[in-house]
């Protein structure tokens, strides 16, 4: 391979109590691509995302085998700085999750945790993040009002901007448009195409169409098995596996 993979998942399995949530996943994700992981509900998509930033550590009763490398470093190595890892691998959840704070305080939450307290510096970070999240023009005059008063689409872009304020390397997006109307969805997809220039993005789409619209490559996850991986064009138009084809054509799902 010419280029070193950003993320290498190797023989990775996750057990939740006695259930197997992920089975022997092996996967490579390249820098600055949009990789989409799609599949029916409860097939392990969120588990896989939360394994990449180790947010799954918070869920009692799960354990894993195999490992994950990011930039060649084993993220499950006990020596890894967990908090730094999570800042490098930003995550946006399926429902907008603004904290009950002002817009400014939501965006500056991460940088403040990292120890940045200089007001001027924070203001710069907030503006830059909101611009990248395509929200700046709508909120620049009311940064100190509560983020809860924003509309659903604005809240979700706020959550994306909040992650961007960490200056991460990878973005994990877990159905970021699931609660949104088509116009908000379009604006988020548009910002993803811009963000791709700087970030490696792993997207769980809220439907197959979204995956095929924005992704470079795609992986089909079914009941904890990674059934098929390929370029988005190939997977969505000429799937090699019968199960992938059945899912994409709507025979089940």
């Amino acid at each position: 391979m010419l280029q070193q993979s950003k993320i290498v998942v190797k023989d990775f399995s996750v057990h939740y109590h006695s259930d197997e949530a992920l089975r022997n996943i092996s996967l490579q994700i390249q820098p600055k691509e949009i990789f989409t992981i799609f599949g029916p509900a409860r097939s392990g998509k969120t588990t896989l995302l939360k394994s990449l930033n180790r947010l799954r550590d918070l869920i009692p009763g799960t354990r894993h085998t195999g490992t994950i490398f990011i930039d060649g470093t084993d993220i499950y190595d006990p020596k890894v700085d967990l908090y730094q890892l999570r800042r490098r691998i930003g995550m946006v959840f399926d429902l907008p999750t603004p904290l009950p704070l002002s817009i400014f305080d939501n965006i500056s939450y991460g940088p403040r945790l990292r120890g940045i307290n200089d007001k001027h510096h924070l203001t710069e970070i907030v503006e830059k993040a909101l611009r990248s999240g395509v929200l700046w023009d709508e909120v620049k005059d009311r940064l100190h009002t509560s983020a809860i008063r924003l509309s659903g689409g604005q809240q979700q872009r706020l959550c994306i901007a909040r992650v961007l304020a960490l200056e991460p390397e990878v973005l994990l997006l877990d159905e970021p448009c699931s609660g949104l109307d088509p116009i908000s969805t379009a604006s988020i997809e548009e910002s993803l195409r811009v963000l791709k220039k700087e970030y490696t993005i792993i997207l769980v789409p809220h439907n197959i169409q979204q995956g095929s619209r924005v992704a470079d490559r795609a992986g089909f996850l079914l009941n904890g098995d990674l059934v098929e991986v390929g370029t988005a064009y190939q997977v969505f138009t000429k799937p090699l596996n019968k199960k992938t084809e059945d899912y994409i054509t709507g025979k089940f799902g």
Binding site: N53, L55, L58, P60, Y83, Q84, R86, R87, G90, M91, F93, L95, T97, L99, P100, L101, Y109, G110, R112, L113, R114, S146, I148, R149, C159, R162, V163, L166
Partner: protein, 279 residues
């Protein structure tokens, strides 16, 4: 004409529910009316600015007000950090385990113990064994132990009500456990914690049995935490029980009620402002 049975049930249920609500309000109004009617004539400014004379037959209740305030503040300032800390420990730092079950069982038991038992414990432990004597300190610590379960359980409920997503967000933005507790959990649990603290303030001010055994019944103006004192509830109890002065007893009672109303009003105003500010 016979009404179908379900209409009858509906009507009876409605009457019973209304009766329940009305009698609750009725009892409250009767108590307030009785105490305020008998007590308000005694409430002239000197009543609040003078200390008692002649066993409380004359003068006011200033030393009692000071003693009550000091004891209540001490109790709340001791119990709140301990209680909030315990609740955070139970909710955020342990999973359901034997230790957390033992602590929870212990606090449940404590909250069911009659206050006179706390008084006896405070008397034996703080007053005698630790040689603190009858004092605001002994009384405050005893009442702190008494209100601890309330603060623990209200704080736990408040933390339980915080969406799991707040935690996930905080951790996913690189927060560690302590940062998550202080930035994402406590600010959102604050209204609930505050409610528990206000409940506890009310209980501390109203407590008689545990306080009379640990803070004594001195009418002198307290000068330090080691001074004995007679809180307003104890004053009321002694005045009425020993037939010293019903007039002054009711005056003290009315002052107590007004004090608690005032604290609740101020607290609610502050709380609402805080909540409005955040949403």
């Amino acid at each position: 004409m016979r009404l179908p049975r379900r209409y009858l049930t509906q009507r009876i249920a409605k009457i019973l529910i209304w009766m329940g609500a009305l009698s609750t309000i009725g009892v409250m109004i009767m108590i307030l009316f009785q105490v305020l009617r008998e007590g308000i004539p005694a409430l002239h400014p000197r009543f609040f600015l003078d200390s008692p004379r002649d066993m409380g037959r004359e003068g006011g209740i200033l030393s009692s007000i000071v003693g009550t305030a000091a004891l209540t503040l001490l109790a709340v300032f001791v119990a709140t950090p301990l209680g909030v800390g315990t609740a955070i420990f139970l909710r955020e730092y342990t999973r359901e385990s034997r230790i957390s079950r033992i602590i929870r069982f212990g606090t449940d038991c404590l909250s069911g113990v009659p206050s006179i038992i706390f008084g006896l414990f405070g008397f034996v432990f703080f007053v005698i064994y630790l040689k603190m004597g009858w004092s605001i300190l002994s009384g405050g610590l005893t009442v702190a132990a008494m209100i601890l379960p309330t603060i623990i359980s209200t704080t736990e409920e408040a933390i339980k009500g915080i969406p799991r997503s707040y935690r996930e967000v905080s951790y996913s933005l690189g927060g560690n456990k302590w940062q998550t507790v202080t930035h994402a959990i406590l600010p959102n649990a604050l209204p609930g914690i505050f409610t528990g603290v206000i409940l506890s303030v009310g209980r501390s001010i109203g407590e008689t049995a545990a306080v009379i055994l640990t803070a004594g019944s001195s009418l002198l103006m307290p000068t330090s935490l080691f001074s004995p004192t007679r809180t307003m509830s104890v004053h009321f109890y002694i005045l009425a029980r020993e037939g010293i002065s019903m007039e002054m007893a009711y005056g003290t009672g009315a002052a107590l009620i007004l004090l608690v109303l005032l604290i609740n009003t101020v607290a609610n105003t502050l709380l609402n402002r805080y909540i409005r500010h955040r949403t």
